[in-house]
Amino acid sequence: MLAVVLAGAVLAGLIFLGKPLHSEKVSKNESKSFSGNYQNSSDIDLRNSSGVIKEAKAIPVYGNWHNFTMKDGLPSDKAYTVRIDGDRVLVGTHDGLAVYENEKWHTYTTKDGLAHNGVVSIDVNELTGDVWIGTLGGLTRWSSGKFTTFNQFNSGLPNDLVYCVFCDGKDVWTATGGGAGHYDTQTGLWEIFTEQNAPMHEPWTYGVSAGGGKVYIAAWGGGMIEYDNTTKRFRDYVDPDGFMEIDLQPDDGIVHDITTATSYSDSIIWISTYFGMSRYDGKNWKGYFKTDSGLASNFINFLRAEGRVVFVCCDNGLSSTDGTTWVTYKKDDNSENGKAIITNGNEKKEIPLSPSISHNFIIGVDAKDDVIWVATSKGVSRGEMIR
């Protein structure tokens, strides 16, 4: 105890001396934040910034944040997921599906036909325009204004808690705690994939995405399961060291077997875990941790890749990266303001944002064109690209 007090006193002294506590390497290249005159980050002239900001031009930076909560018409402040669907935005909350259209929110609940009010995942079928809604109590299809429910008892849905739904052409994939489900919308046939017929350790799946002719399942404790649509074969990717408590070597494979989401884009598959993030290009693996990258936190709820950028929903901020440059958005604890932290190697720059994202616990994200929507533990945020 005495040791802690003494050490604390010494550290306080160092702070008093005005010396930053982080490494000199960082501080040497670290520029101060833009002056407090900026009330909106779109005011910032990136052309006059340092090299790190110029690097950041490679990936988008968002500002002009607008936040929505129950006061604005959301059915709940706890938002699980968000999906941009043309001119409207679909938000899954703990208490219903919220649709933002023409600057107004409209809520749909079980009274309208939703399987459950807790909406945790949404995807839109590009072929049909149907909206597929994963809830805490089943899967709902929203088509031509009509809600149809699929559950364990009336369909081949593996489990009623649908953590993730993903549309891949005519196929609808679901990730549930009872296995991965595949629904062929043309034949109406279901397939269930569990440890019985796929290389999973257990049937627990929590994320699914598709691309490049393959489906990528985040299997809890089983790493990532890849399903080839052509050969109908599976392949699993697990942490090579096989231990929960360590990551033995960097970049040797998936960083941990407790996976939470996958997202494929630009021939890259990104995989999130509660222990960091992985990137796989079909040949090489790259791991990212808070300690060696610009990642806001190792605890990642979800991720979504658009083009060559992946948006990473951490429990303590929203990060985005192309694998080299990082932009992380964080809200200040005691105000609605925050910052975008741009990192490239040891270089770092902060851009003040006023306001910032609604909350730092990020659960869902979607980005299209120049707009990003973020689902958080307390509200939904809409940002605009500021360059």
Partner: protein, 440 residues
């Protein structure tokens, strides 16, 4: 100036490193109480990342939420095997332990005069039904829940707790991976199978000096994950398991597996399964003329095991997560009250459920009815670190796994006798390595 700053920085770091990073622990230990010699890969290289060194925080919202004004009851969830399960007796004991704690709290006035009410859910079912039960608990507005035992169901429920933000106090599942998921909505007061594995390695290889060990384990997740750290540790200290055979729950004839084990001439046999099958296996081991010492998992510590195994049980050594015969007034009162209320002796699942429920009730009394605040106080590594229940002390590691010392149980004269497990810090041939990547 720079030199001074560096000097003071080093000075400060030295002092900080001397402090205990996980408050409440009596001594610095590796994560999960892993003996230095058994830290993965540590003989060859340091890991790039060591997880679980510090408790993960929950950064989500919800601490500002107020409870409903017109609350008529304070709902506590329960999830356990109560129907259609081979471990139904264990589930009933867990339920009864929970009920006793709730009833005692209500006799003291409940929460500010509002009674506690147990919302009971059966966890058995195909296709991840435990997740559906947690959703139901959310719909029922429970403030937290107790359970469960089977690790398949524990994991499925745990993942749902993160979405729904309901704390799960696990009082019956010793699967080490339960708390190794990093989800900040699950804590466990029953010591895990890592602890059992390590003390069995110590007892079998160091103390009893065996080297050729056969394993017979349940062909279930309980058997597979439960024996995992024993197997890995045995290999790491130089004595890989020579044969591993499996059996299914409900199986009664094990002669085929035992004949294969017999051919390998093991020094000793380790059983990892439920009480009934373990007892039958033990009898058949002796019927085959195999007189090797037999060791086993904690689920053998039950009247059912002793009843079925009969004289064959004599000399069996197992682990047990607590000492049911401890000379502790709290434990004695619990046993008396439990027997009076339910007409049977409490088992390990009843005792830990009783403790876990009392921890939850105390947390609610301290912070009120708010799920996040209940989670916060139970995981703050201060308020409940060192909590003294009827099963002993709670010593959380950074994943909120209880790593207090467990006990050995040995059958003598038809009765289990309990003794403290050996300390895992040795200086002899097995635990000789003084420092590892996990030392803190």
């Amino acid at each position: 100036m720079k030199i001074h700053i560096r000097f003071f920085s080093v000075f400060a770091l030295v002092f900080l490193s001397m402090s205990e990073l996980v408050p409440g622990q009596e001594k610095k230990v590796n994560y999960g109480n892993i003996p230095d010699e058994l830290v993965a890969y540590d003989r060859y290289q340091k890991a790039y990342i060591y997880h679980f060194l510090e408790p993960i925080q929950f950064y989500g919202a919800g601490r500002e939420k107020l409870p409903p004004a017109d609350l008529k009851e304070v709902r506590i969830g329960f999830l356990g095997p109560l129907e259609g399960s081979v471990i139904l007796p264990l589930g009933m004991q867990m339920l009864q332990g929970t009920m006793l704690a709730i009833e005692e709290a209500n006799k003291k006035g409940g929460y500010k005069g509002i009674p506690y009410k147990l919302m009971i859910h059966n966890d058995v079912g195909l296709w991840g039904a435990a997740a559906n039960e947690v959703v139901k608990m959310d719909d029922e507005k429970v403030w937290a829940f107790i359970g469960t035992i089977d690790d398949n169901n524990s994991h499925v429920a745990l993942r749902a707790t993160l979405k729904l933000e309901i704390l799960n106090i696990n009082t019956g599942d010793p699967d080490p991976t339960y708390t190794e998921t990093n989800i900040p909505w699950g804590i466990r007061n029953i010591p895990d199978d890592r602890q059992s594995g390590y003390v069995l390695v110590d007892r079998i290889f160091r103390q009893d000096k065996h080297s050729r060990i056969a394993v017979m384990r349940a062909n279930s997740r309980y058997g597979r994950v439960g024996i995992l750290h024993f197997n890995r540790s045995a290999t790491r200290v130089g004595y890989p398991i020579i044969i591993e055979e499996r059996f299914s729950d409900g199986e009664t004839d094990f002669k085929a597996q035992l004949e294969r084990i017999k051919k390998t001439s093991p020094d000793a046999i380790v059983l990892w399964g439920n009480a009934k099958e373990s007892a039958l296996i033990l009898k058949q081991i002796r019927e085959l003329g195999m007189n090797q010492p037999v060791y086993g998992s904690d689920r053998m510590v039950s009247p059912e095991f002793l009843s079925i195994a009969g004289n064959s049980a004599e000399g069996i050594v197992t682990t047990c997560q607590y000492n049911p015969d401890a000379n502790d007034p709290k434990l004695k009162a619990f046993k008396t009250n439990y027997l009076k209320r339910f007409g049977q002796e409490p088992d390990v699942f009843a005792a830990h459920a009783y403790d876990g429920t009392n921890m939850l009730i105390e947390a609610i009394q301290k912070v009120g009815l708010n799920r996040v605040r209940i989670r916060d106080i139970l995981t703050d590594m201060k308020t409940f670190q060192g909590y003294q229940g009827v099963t002993g002390k709670v010593i959380f590691d950074a994943t909120w796994n209880n790593i207090r010392p467990i006990f050995m149980a040995e059958v003598k004269n038809g009765k289990f006798n309990f003794s403290p497990s050996p300390s895992l810090e040795k200086s002899d041939m097995i635990y000789k390595k003084p420092k590892s990547g996990y030392s803190y």
